[in-house]
Assembly symmetry: C2
Homo-oligomer: 131 residues x 2
DNA sequence: CAGCATCCGCTCAGATACTG
DNA sequence: CAGTATCTGAGCGGATGCTG
């Protein structure tokens, strides 16, 4: 699932059939799995943010990734994009109601991850120590 | 985060610092995002499964992906692997307690995805219809 | 049956340069 | 400030062939 909406030659429509529902759910799970979506949504929890505020708040992201991540979130109806026609330009991003409910759900997953990070680390060390 | 454990030249240890916790959580979120982990874990809900049972239950997966997915889940302590020394060989995979708690958490995310799939589809159509 | 080993295409995501 | 355009390395994920 490309984060970029039609970057160069992205066909984006050659799935095998499988369950209809599966495919649709997959595109949503992919949002959780990709590198920045959750971080961006989390950053928007407190309220609207400008593009440059988000960029500053997310060390390691670059314009390209922030832009494409925001575009996908906007397309999915999770985030709204508001352009203020002024110079220099100002664009605000804000969570929609849908985006907020997603955040609630993801939050519990993040919680789980943080609570169990130690246990998983330990399991990995055991596994790596011997088969 | 590679699903393959050290495939060819995977260094696997050249992160930028960032928050320690962030990195560890990331490796867990990646499991949710990758193509097969959730499906495999879900398939194991009902009880232990043999390798070939899993393969049959997951149309589209191939041995390589099933094997590497199971290895990662095993390494993380989410799944146990039991080899029965017999001919032909038999290997059972089963969720651990940790794996089951992950499943609970992921289930609510899948729920969210299914409940909101229609809304997201509609948002996408609106977005694609005009900017 | 339950796997490794190998080859390879695709696209993700970073870096960099340019624009209204 | 808030993007777009382009190039590129890297690695995920699929296909195939072989083994104990």
């Amino acid at each position: 699932m490309p984060v970029q909406p039609a970057e160069h030659g992205s066909l984006a429509a050659d799935w095998e059939p499988r369950g209809e529902a599966d495919c649709r759910v997959r595109t949503i799970m992919d949002r959780v799995g990709d590198k920045w979506s959750v971080a961006v949504v989390t950053e928007l929890t407190a309220g609207p943010r400008r593009f440059s505020e988000l960029k500053r708040a997310l060390p390691g992201i670059n314009q390209r990734m922030l832009t494409s991540t925001l575009r996908v979130l906007e397309r999915d109806g999770l985030v709204t994009r508001t352009v203020y026609p002024q110079v220099p330009p100002r664009v605000d991003y804000e969570l929609t109601g849908l985006g907020r409910t997603l955040l609630d759900t993801v939050a519990s997953l993040l919680d789980w991850a943080e609570r169990n990070a130690d246990g998983i680390d330990e399991a990995r060390r055991r596994y790596d120590a011997r088969g």
